[in-house]
Amino acid sequence: MTGRQAVKAYLDLMSQPCRAVLIFLKHNKIPHTVEQIAIRKGEQKTPEFTKLNPMQKVPVLEDNGFVLTESDAILKYLATTYKVPDHWYPKLPEKRARVDEYTAWHHMNTRMHAATVFWQEVLLPLMTGQPANTAKLEKALSDLNGTLDKLENMFLKRQAFLCGDDISLADLLAICELMQPMSSGRDILKDRPKLMSWRGRVQSALSDSFDEAHTIVYRLRDKFTAKL
């Protein structure tokens, strides 16, 4: 396609789905520019950004005038528009269905429960200056444990990655969510060797782009644990 410009991604790397989009772009060498939108500074509420995305959320992808929100829609769009290895979002219907099955389930499970732990343990205390509510944090951790059980016993039961023998969009979305609680120094996978091995495999497959995207999480972790 002649004259096609690089896609533009509006991201805040503190956001889990934003990291997934950035990692995918970088790892697959998809030409792109990034505009940082700092949620903590309210930059998603400016008139310009609101015009782009009335939902005032990130990530947003802009492809030559085509504006798209929702990380799983963005990732699937990029995977099918650009020449990326098939394993990310396989063409074979049964294999693709497994990724679609995970990305649907992900919203109310991995994303919801890992994000709630982060909210209760890190974000809310940072915003209010109050210590974390123990009861709410315990409930969040219990819900997350239920999700981790399902990831181990169902998705990873007989395979190296969530949807098969190779990494896919599912693993990318999941890993970014499961990294978020690390902002407090908490390793939610520490007593789960199966999930830790999976995390190792995913990090290995993503190499530099993973650590680059997660620098912000490591920095917050260092700041958070220094306070204790």
């Binding site: 798209l68 929100t69 649907a104 389930w105 919203h107 919801m112 409930k139």
Partner: protein, 242 residues
């Protein structure tokens, strides 16, 4: 080997799969199961779908859950008309965008209303705090506003001029609080007009048939045997009310 589809039409995502399969004349063995009898927790079903969720399909040895994944799989396998899940990647992305957003908005908030208004008080015999009910209604109203402003706007359907999976998934979720007695279409003429178009595109008979169990829930709630749901009572109350 026949395609088996496990459904309880009381469930919103089961309805979208049912309507999609029927509308497209996809032959399937309709395995009727009852959520209220706790079928999803049985040993037999656990073998078919360890995620223990409805809807589920079994296509030969291939088992799949999640209505969105199921419909995309069936659309491809049975070469359904393009408008359901367009081949054009940008139109397809728009469908995916809605299908993604709706999980934690329309679906999440819409689902609570029927539980709070009818199932929890009448079948489980538990009280729903007024504040929880008010929050649920407020959140659903917020989601419906966004649905109209961002996804529907002034278009006949969510993506273009014809019905797609986005409209189908949206309508079955919005019908749930409607069935509970919350008139989501009152003072929302745009939404009502869209609903009428969707019902017509699906076919009024199929649409009404699929929604029969849900629309009669207010009358039938008292006849539901609480024994089926009561083992799940603590789990349900924790999920919805904590």
């Amino acid at each position: 080997m026949t395609l088996e589809i496990y459904l309880d039409l009381f469930s919103q995502p089961c309805r979208s799969v049912y309507i999609f399969a029927k509308k497209n004349n996809i032959q399937f063995d309709h395995k009727k199961i009852s959520l209220f009898e706790g079928y999803q927790y049985g040993e037999e079903f656990g073998k078919i779908n360890p995620l223990r969720k409805f809807p589920t399909i079994k296509d030969g040895d291939f088992c799949l859950a999640e209505s969105v994944a199921i419909m995309i799989y069936l659309a491809d396998k049975f070469h359904t008309p393009d408008h359901w899940f367009p081949a054009d990647l940008q139109k397809r992305a728009r469908v995916n965008e809605y299908l993604s957003w709706q999980h934690t908005s329309i679906r999440m908030h819409g689902a609570k209303i029927i539980w709070f208004k009818i199932l929890i008080p009448e079948v489980l015999g538990a009280e729903v705090p007024k504040e929880k009910m008010e929050n649920a209604v407020e959140n659903l109203n917020w989601a419906l506003q966004l649905f109209q402003d961002k996804f529907l706007q002034d278009k006949p359907f969510i993506v273009g001029d014809q019905i797609s999976l986005a409209d189908l998934v949206a309508i079955v979720e919005i019908m749930q609080p409607f069935a509970a007695g919350m008139d989501v279409f009152e003072n929302r003429p745009k939404l009502k007009a869209w609903k009428d178009r969707v019902r017509e595109a699906i076919g009024a008979e199929l649409f009404d048939e699929a929604h029969q169990a849900t629309m009669s829930i207010r009358d039938n709630a008292k006849t539901i045997d609480p024994k089926g749901l009561s083992p799940l009572k603590d789990k349900i109350l924790k999920f919805f009310l904590s």
